[in-house]
Amino acid sequence: MTDPKPPVDVAEEPPAPRQETFFQRFMRELTGGSILVTILSVVLALLIGAVLIAASDPDVQDRADYFFSRPGDTLSAAWSAISDAYGALFTGSIIDIDEYTVGRALRPLAETATNAAPLIAAGLGVALAFRAGLFNIGAEGQIILGAILAGYVGFGWHLPTGLHLIVGVLAGIVGGAVWGGVVGLLKARTGAHEVIVTIMLNYVARFLIAYLLTTTAFQRPGASNPVSPIVDDSAQLPRFFDDSRLHLGFVLVILAAFGVWWLLERSTMGFEFRAVGANPNAARTAGMSVSRTYVWVMLLAGGLAGLAGVMQVLGTERYLTSGISAGIGFDAITVALLGRASPWGTVAAGLLFGALRAGGVPMQASTGTPIDIIVVIQSLIVLFIAAPPLVRAIFRVPVRSAGQPVAGLQRGWGA
C-alpha cells in the first residue's frame, strides 16, 4: 500500500504500539496512506456505482431477461444508462457545454463550489480535532448553533450594511465555537469522552432549533410552519454572479483552510495540537498543557463548523429551518477522513463531495437515476480508504516492514 521510504531519524527507535490508543493507531494508519490509494478508491467507487446504475435501470432489467440470446442488448442498455447518468453528473458539477452563455455553462462549477464551501469549513473543524487526537462527531450540532446565531443576527437585528454581515458571520462562528468548546472543557475537566458528548450535543442542537422555530422570536410572522424570516439583504453573503448561488463564503473557506494550515504547520499552538494528538503523555511530560489544548482545539473546530452554519443560513438558504445543517456535519467527517486530516486534502475532498452533491441533482432530475447512488458512491470511497487502516488497527496487523509505520507517521503528521 505504501511505497518504501528511507527511514527518517527516529526510525531506529522501536515503535511502541502497545501504548497507542486504538484511535491513534487508526489515525496513524489512515494518514500514512498514499494519495494513489485515495484516487483509486474514488475510481473503484465510481465503477461500483456504474454497476448499480445499470442494475437499477428498468431498461437494463427488461433486456437482461433475454441476456443469453442477445447479450448485446443488455450491455448497450447498461452502457447508455451509465453514460447518461455519469454524463449528467459531469454536466451538473463541472461544465455544461450545451449552454449558450459562459455564465450558464460554468454554473455547474459554481454550484460545486457552493456545495463544497460548508463541507470544507466543517471538514476543517473535524480534521483539526483529528490532528489533536479528538474525534469530533459534533460538527452537525456546531453547524446548527452557528446557523441559529448567524440567522438570528441576520433577521432579528437590523444593522448598517457591512457591519451587519460581519457581526452575523462572527456570531455564527462564536455559536459553533461555544458548542464545540463545551466539549473540550468537559473533556479537559472531567475526562468525558468527546465522542459521546458531541453525539449528545447534536441531539440537543437539533431539538433546540426545532423548539426555537416555534417561538415568536424565530418564527416567520404570519407563518404557522417552523421556518424563520428571510435574513436581511445587508446580512447576506454577497453572490458573485447573477446566474449562480456561489457566494463570498467560498473565499472565506479558502482563507480558513489557509489559516488551519498555518496554525498546524507554522505556529506553536499547532505544534502543541499535533504533539498532544501524537502522544498526550509525551506532550504533558514536555510541559504542554493537554487540557488547555483540548479546550482550544474544540473551540476552533466548533468555530469552523459554525462558519459552515453561517454559509448555510447567510449564503445559500438565507432562512432557518430545522434541517439547515443538511447532514453536512456528518459528511464533514467523511471529507476530513478522505482528506487525511490535512487542510488542503480536506479542501480537495470537500470539492469532490460538493461536485457529487451538485451533480446528483440533474442526474436524478433528467435521467431518473436514483439519488441514493450518490450516497453509495460517497460511502464506498470512505469504505475503501478507511477500511484497510481500520482492519489493521483492530487486528493490530503490522505493515510490511518494521520501519514503515513510523515513516508513515512522520510524513502523515507532517512534523
Binding site: S76, A77, A223, S224, G368
Partner: protein, 372 residues
C-alpha cells in the same frame, strides 16, 4: 500454460468490451426508450411535461409523496402528460437545486410537495414568471397570516379536519374503553389539522350521545399534544403508541406518514385496538395492517395534483388555490373494510348525516390550520 490462459482471458475481455461499446450507438438510435424519462412521451400519454420535487420522503413513502406522485401517474394514464419526472430531496439543502433542475428541464408544470419547499418554489417562481408551479399542502401568507398568492404558483391545500371529524366520531362510537388516542409526526399545521378534526369529532359524539369518550395525545384548546418530532423515528412512534394503549386507548389515530405503520404494529400486538390511518386508504396502501384499520382519513392529493396538471395542460392555469373539502371530494373517510360488520348501521347513518351537515354548512368544523 498460465501465461497463455491469461492472454486468452485478456483478449476475450477486450473482445467483450469492444462488442459492448460497439453495439451501443446502434441500439441507442434504434430504440429511444433507453434515453431516460423524456422518451416515454412517444409510448403513451400526452406530450405535456409534468415534474415533481418531493421533500425528504421518497416516491414510495406509502403516504404523502407517493399519493401526490400518483396524481401525475393518473395524469399520464389519462393521456394528459408524458412520463412524469421526479426528483427526491435528500436534505433541506436540495430543495432549491432540485426545483431549479426541473426549471432547466423545461417542465410544463412543476409540482412541489410540502411546506418545506415553499421558499425554494417561491424563489424559482419569481425568477421564472413563465413557468407554472403547484405546491401541495402550502399557501403563501403575508406577515399577518392573510393569503399572499404568487402569480404562477397554485396552492393545493386540504381541509382535512372535516374528514377527520367523521373519523373521530366513528372512533368514539367504536371505542369500548371510552378512550381514544392520537399523535403526530411533527407539530405542523398539516398534521394538527387532522388532530383538531379528530378531537372535535369525538367531542361531538359525546355531545350527541351524552357519552364521555376521552381523547389522549391532543388537546385542541391548548394545541398541545404528543409528537414524535420527525417522520422517521419508528422506535419512538411505537413507544408512543404502546403508551397510549397502556393508558386504555383502543383506537389510535397516528398522523405521521410512514410512521403510522408503528401504530398499526402496536395495535396488532395489543389486540382489540384499531387504527385510523391518514392520507391514503391504509387498507389498500398498507394491506399488512388491514385487520386493524378501522377507517382512513383520506386526503386526495392525487386528485388535486391531477386537477392542477389537467388545468396546466389545457392552458387554463390559474393561481386560485385548490381547497380539498368534503364537498368537492378532496377529503373524505375510507370504507370500514374488515370492520364493516362491527360498525353499527346507526353510526353509519349518523356519519352520512354529519357529512351532509358539514357540506351544507349546518355543522361548522373549525381548526386554526383550516383554509378558506
Amino acid at each position: 500454460m498460465n501465461k497463455r490462459f491469461r492472454l486468452a482471458a485478456a483478449l476475450s475481455a477486450v473482445a467483450l468490451a469492444v462488442a459492448a461499446c460497439g453495439d451501443a450507438p446502434e441500439e441507442d438510435g434504434g430504440d429511444g426508450a433507453t434515453g431516460g424519462a423524456t422518451d416515454g412521451a412517444t409510448e403513451g400519454g400526452g406530450d405535456f411535461s409534468a415534474c415533481m420535487v418531493s421533500d425528504q420522503g421518497g416516491i414510495n413513502d406509502r403516504s404523502f409523496n407517493e399519493t401526490s406522485y400518483n396524481g401525475l401517474v393518473l395524469a399520464q394514464e389519462e393521456g394528459i402528460i408524458a412520463e412524469p419526472k421526479f426528483a427526491e430531496s435528500q436534505t433541506d439543502a436540495d430543495y432549491g437545486p432540485n426545483v431549479d433542475a426541473m426549471v432547466q428541464d423545461d417542465c410544463g408544470i412543476i409540482v412541489t410537495v410540502g411546506f418545506l419547499l415553499a421558499d425554494a418554489t417561491r424563489e424559482a417562481a419569481e425568477a421564472n414568471p413563465e413557468e407554472q408551479f403547484a405546491i401541495v399542502d402550502f399557501q403563501y401568507v403575508d406577515d399577518t397570516g392573510a393569503p399572499a398568492p404568487i402569480d404562477n404558483v397554485k396552492p393545493l391545500v386540504f381541509n382535512t379536519h372535516e374528514a377527520a371529524f367523521l373519523a373521530g366520531y366513528a372512533s368514539a362510537a367504536h371505542s369500548t374503553t371510552g378512550i381514544v388516542g392520537t399523535w403526530g409526526g411533527a407539530k405542523i399545521p398539516t398534521v394538527t389539522i387532522f388532530m383538531d378534526g379528530f378531537y372535535d369529532g369525538v367531542q361531538y359524539y359525546n355531545e350527541q350521545k351524552g357519552a364521555d369518550v376521552q381523547v389522549l395525545g391532543w388537546d385542541k384548546a391548548t394545541q398541545e399534544g404528543q409528537f414524535v418530532g420527525d417522520f422517521a423515528n419508528t422506535g419512538l412512534a411505537r413507544q408512543i403508541s404502546d403508551n397510549l394503549i397502556s393508558q386504555g386507548a383502543d383506537v389510535l389515530h397516528p398522523v405521521a406518514g410512514p410512521l403510522a405503520e408503528s401504530a398499526a404494529i402496536a395495535a396488532q400486538a395489543a389486540g382489540n385496538v384499531a387504527v385510523v390511518w391518514a392520507d391514503s386508504d391504509g387498507f389498500e396502501s398498507a394491506p399488512d395492517y388491514g385487520d386493524v384499520i378501522l377507517t382512513s382519513v383520506l386526503k386526495g392529493m392525487d386528485q388535486a395534483v391531477l386537477a392542477a396538471t389537467q388545468e396546466a395542460a389545457d392552458d387554463a392555469f390559474t393561481n386560485e388555490p385548490y381547497v380539498g373539502t368534503l364537498e368537492n371530494g378532496g377529503v373524505g373517510i375510507a370504507p370500514f373494510h374488515d370492520f364493516d360488520s362491527t360498525v353499527t348501521q346507526e353510526t353509519k347513518d349518523e356519519l352520512a348525516q354529519i357529512q351532509e351537515q358539514i357540506i351544507s354548512g349546518e355543522l361548522v368544523v373549525e381548526s386554526d390550520a383550516a383554509f378558506s
